[in-house]
Structure formats: structure tokens, C-alpha cells
């Protein structure tokens, strides 16, 4: 794809489609490309921090920092692969994997108590005290059969979230 900013050839579209395992249709990829170019204002080939944060609805999201770490410096192909978890054609496994990656910030394949606590803190912030948060989390983990110092892996997440009917879909606007 190189550095060309506005022209997307048929080959490029098919390459991106293959990379994301056909979770997006070709029209959706074209729309995503227009969106990518709109966000990437200085045409650097990737979306930088302040370009993301210039979207107010993204900036106020409690998990924006974590997501941003995952999406920073991605080129268009990887950007589409990142968003593929939100397609209606994505499998449940893919979606749970995505959630796991959000929790697992250091990418070692294991989610510790501190990671869970961090995400809970992002979501609830100042409304609950740190102590209350820890106590609730410990209690809930023990009820589910885990200990405070146990490390959760992807298969644990699949077990916990696997049969809940997870709804995580975003519609790509196609003009």
C-alpha cells in the first residue's frame, strides 16, 4: 500500500480482507479507509495519540488509554484487523480474545489480579474506594473458584465469558 494516501486499489482491498479473515466486506474496507484517512490528518500512515484523542467520544471513554496502547502506530491493514473483533461476522472466540488482550496489557498471556483491578478502576474511578474495589474483586473471584493470586489465561476467559451471548458489534457506515 505504501505511502499513497487516497487511492486504494482492488489488490489492496483484497489483501486487507484476507488479513482480517474476511470479517469485513469490501465496501466496509473502503469506508474504513476513508475514516482512517480522515483521522490521520498529517498523512503519516498511522493515527497518532492526539489524532485519536481529537475524537471526543473516544477521549471520554474510560478504556481509551488501554485501547490506545493497542492501536497506537498501526497502519491501515493492522487497523482493520484490530477492528475486526467488532464485526458482526467475527466469532465469539475472536471477541473474547480481544477482551483478553485489553486486560493483558503486558501481553504475556496471563491476566493477574492487578490487571483486573486496573480495568475496574478505569471503569469505576472515583465512585468507589480502592479498598472496596479490591474486596469486591477478591470476593467475586473466590465465588467463581479462583484465588486472589491465580493468573487467568485465555481459556479461563473463554469459560467465563464463552456462553454469555456477548454482544460487541459496531456497524461500519457504508455510503
Amino acid at each position: 500500500m505504501g505511502n499513497t494516501s487516497s487511492m486504494l486499489t482492488q489488490y489492496d482491498i483484497e489483501e486487507v480482507q484476507e488479513h482480517c479473515n474476511n470479517t469485513f466486506s469490501q465496501q466496509e474496507i473502503v469506508s474504513l479507509y476513508q475514516r482512517f484517512c480522515q483521522l490521520d490528518r498529517n498523512s503519516g500512515g498511522f493515527i497518532s495519540a492526539d489524532e485519536f484523542l481529537s475524537v471526543p467520544e473516544f477521549a471520554v471513554n474510560p478504556l481509551s488509554q488501554r485501547l490506545f496502547r493497542m492501536v497506537d502506530g498501526l497502519n491501515f491493514k493492522e487497523f482493520v484487523a484490530f477492528l475486526s473483533a467488532f464485526s458482526s461476522r467475527a466469532t465469539l472466540q475472536h471477541k473474547v480474545e480481544f477482551i483478553f488482550k485489553v486486560y493483558d496489557s503486558d501481553g504475556n498471556g496471563k491476566v493477574a489480579f492487578s490487571d483486573l483491578l486496573d480495568v475496574l478502576r478505569d471503569l469505576t474511578g472515583q465512585f468507589i474506594s480502592e479498598q472496596q474495589r479490591e474486596l469486591v474483586l477478591t470476593h467475586v473471584l473466590e465465588e467463581a473458584g479462583y484465588k486472589k493470586d491465580s493468573l487467568l489465561v485465555l481459556s479461563d476467559f473463554m469459560k467465563i465469558l464463552g456462553n454469555t451471548g456477548l454482544k460487541m458489534e459496531v456497524e461500519v457506515p457504508v455510503d
Partner: protein, 381 residues
């Protein structure tokens, strides 16, 4: 949208409260004067019975992630400020000469004609205004009436200089106390278009340059209120001035643009609540420009006002519709933000604009809650 963010939070908070009472005996750590969040949450988000909080509820962050991804893929805010360039229609052999002819007519014939009209208008205006302003110092009522008529006159000249075709629908505004007029904002010319029909008093940001000069001399006579965005205390001063103006019986009717900025004519952005908490009747005005003739959206980041005016003067015409809509009062039990959003819905509906904008409900509610908490409990947000 609001439900997605709030349900997990409310359940976690409520369940934390219950679990705390089970796990710890001493309530001293519960901090009894912490705000009760449930008071401020929307009643329709607290619909689940007191179910047990399970691990999967804590781990399931999909609603928040969906919102974030939705914002990445498409966000309303960027859409509101995009001015869609018109499709180039002059790209082939037959149409291009016609377009060139059009350019010659517009720049060579229409533009000088318009400049002449405008100059003529200014001469008449100044030759009447300056004597009236200086000589009739003692006779206030007469002076005000004449100045009002003169301001309407110069605005008509401005509109004529763009070959403006404005159709007004609905009853003309009358000057009564305890009422404010609100309108959507596309460009500074909104004010001129409305002022042509009725001399409004307006609340504006002080601009630099020749516009600022006009503001401080001529618009003073119609009774305008200035604000300065960079000053922190300014909000309270302005709120007080607004209230005083609205209550005065012989002040000109007050016109407010609650969007706070110029938006392309296809969307409306969230209204600021200042105009809606004055306790007076709000009369909505909807302005819609016909894009076929010219795109009147003034992107103040890209163009200065002078460039914008020149662009208008070299187009064919400015065609717009102005609807004066039914006055609205705050319903009992409605908050100013809800009132503002309701009026915005009325204006968008008339204008056939898409009702979008930064946090139509979500962020508005969040800011309201944080404000409540800040005011009542002095919590640092």
C-alpha cells in the same frame, strides 16, 4: 447509549455497597457523606433487580469497548464540522465554457454591482446614524427607535449585496420581556439575516478587526452583550447580564445561538444550557440555507470573516428559509439540559437536520452528574 455505560457501573456500585456491609462490620470506612450515586443516575438504567454480581459481569467490558470502537469508526462530532465540497460539475468540454462565462459574470458584473450597493448603503446609514446618535442624546426613546430602524436598514443592504433571497415563515418576533430567541448557527450572516427583519440584541464573542469595531459602535445601540471565552469569571457575569436584559421591558428581544459555534447546516450540535436556565420563554428559530446556490457554512478555523463575505459576494445568491417556531416553556420537572435538547430537536426537525453531536445524551448527562457532585460535595473531578 447512556444505558451501556451506566448499567455495569450502577450494578458494581450497588453491589459493592451491599458486599461491604456483609464483609466489614465497622461502617466508619464507608464514608457516609460520599454522594449517593443512585440519586443522579437515570431511573431507567437502574432496572435490574438486586442480582448477584458474578465474575463474568465484572469481566464483561464489551459495552464500553463497543462504544469506543463505535467512536473510532464514526463519530458525530467530526461530521458536524465537515463542509462537503460540492461535486465538480464543470469538468467536461460543454460545461466548462459556460462555467467560465459564469465566473466572468459573477466577478466582473455582479461583484462590482454589489460592492456599489453596499457602499451606497453604508453612506446612507452613516449619514443618518451619526446625526441621530449625537443629536438626539436627550430623546432616548426616539433615538432608540430610529437606530433600530437604521440597523435593520443596513442589514437589508448587506443581504441585498449577496442577492439574498430570504423567506420568512411564522409570526414575526415581538419585543416582550421574559423571552429569548434561540437559533441554529451556520455563519455570522445568520445574525444579519435575522436582524434584517427584527432588531435583536445579541450575545457574541468580541471579535478583532473591523468586525470588532462594528460591534462596539453600532451594535451597542441595539443593546448587545459581550463575552470573553478566555476569562474564567466571565460566565457568571454574562449570566447576570443575560438575566437583567431579559427582564428589562424596553430592551430589544435577545437572540442567542446556543450551539456556541458555527456548524455546517446538516447537523446541530449539543446546545449549551445558558439560554435555557433564565426562567423565560424560549422562542426557537430555524435557519436553513439552500446549498445549490452557495454553501453558507463559515468554517472559522479555515477562513476569516472578510474572506467569507467576499466569497458570498461573488456567488450567485444566498437563498435561505427562516422559520419562527412556537415559543416553548420549560416543563415542570425538566432540567435545563433536557429543555435545551428538546428545543434543539424542534429546530433540527424543522431544518431537517440530523440530530447528532457530541454526546447527545451520554456526555451531557455525565457532565451534569460530575457538576452535581462537584457542587454538592466539592469532589475534584
Amino acid at each position: 447509549m447512556v444505558k451501556l455505560l451506566r448499567i455495569p457501573l450502577s450494578r458494581i456500585v450497588r453491589t459493592c455497597g451491599r458486599k461491604m456491609s456483609k464483609l466489614t462490620s465497622s461502617s466508619s470506612e464507608l464514608d457516609l457523606d460520599r454522594p449517593n450515586i443512585e440519586d443522579y443516575l437515570l431511573t431507567d438504567s437502574i432496572q435490574e433487580p438486586h442480582a448477584k454480581l458474578r465474575l463474568r459481569d465484572l469481566l464483561d467490558i464489551s459495552p464500553t469497548l463497543t462504544e469506543a470502537a463505535g467512536a473510532i469508526v464514526d463519530d458525530s462530532f467530526t461530521r458536524c464540522f465537515k463542509s462537503n465540497p460540492p461535486e465538480p460539475w464543470n469538468w467536461n468540454v460543454y460545461l466548462f465554457p459556460l462555467w467560465c462565462l459564469g465566473v466572468v459574470v459573477r466577478y466582473g458584473i455582479l461583484f462590482p454591482g454589489r460592492v456599489l450597493i453596499l457602499t451606497f448603503g453604508w453612506i446612507i446609514f452613516l449619514s443618518c446614524y451619526i446625526p441621530v446618535h449625537l443629536l438626539l442624546k436627550g430623546h432616548d426613546k426616539l433615538r432608540k427607535r430610529l437606530e433600530r430602524a437604521l440597523v435593520e436598514l443596513i442589514c437589508s443592504f448587506f443581504v441585498a449585496s449577496w442577492t439574498g433571497v430570504v423567506k420568512y415563515h411564522g409570526p414575526r418576533p415581538c419585543a416582550r420581556p421574559k423571552q429569548v430567541f434561540v437559533a441554529n448557527h451556520t455563519s455570522m450572516i445568520d445574525f444579519i439575516v435575522l436582524e434584517q427583519m427584527t432588531a435583536f440584541a445579541v450575545i457574541m464573542q468580541k471579535h478583532p478587526g473591523w468586525v470588532g469595531l462594528l460591534q462596539s459602535t453600532i451594535l451597542e445601540s441595539v443593546g448587545c452583550i459581550w463575552f470573553n471565552r478566555s476569562e474564567a469569571k466571565d460566565r457568571e457575569i454574562v449570566a447576570r447580564k443575560l438575566r437583567e436584559h431579559v427582564e428589562g421591558a424596553d430592551n430589544n428581544p435577545l437572540l442567542i445561538f446556543p450551539e456556541g459555534t458555527c456548524v455546517n447546516n446538516h447537523y446541530t450540535v449539543m446546545f449549551k444550557k445558558g439560554a435555557f436556565e433564565l426562567g423565560s420563554t424560549v422562542c426557537p428559530i430555524a435557519i436553513k440555507y439552500n446549498k445549490i446556490f452557495v454553501d453558507a457554512f463559515w468554517n472559522s478555523r479555515k477562513q476569516s470573516f472578510t474572506t467569507h463575505l467576499l466569497q458570498l459576494m461573488t456567488s450567485w445568491a444566498v437563498v435561505c428559509d427562516v422559520w419562527y417556531l412556537e415559543p416553548q416553556n420549560m416543563k415542570p420537572g425538566e432540567t435545563p439540559i433536557e429543555f435545551a435538547e428538546r428545543v434543539r430537536g424542534i429546530i433540527s426537525g424543522k431544518q431537517a437536520a440530523k440530530f447528532r453531536g457530541v454526546g447527545s445524551a451520554t456526555i451531557g448527562r455525565k457532565i451534569e452528574i460530575i457538576d452535581c457532585c462537584k457542587d454538592r460535595y466539592q469532589i475534584k473531578a
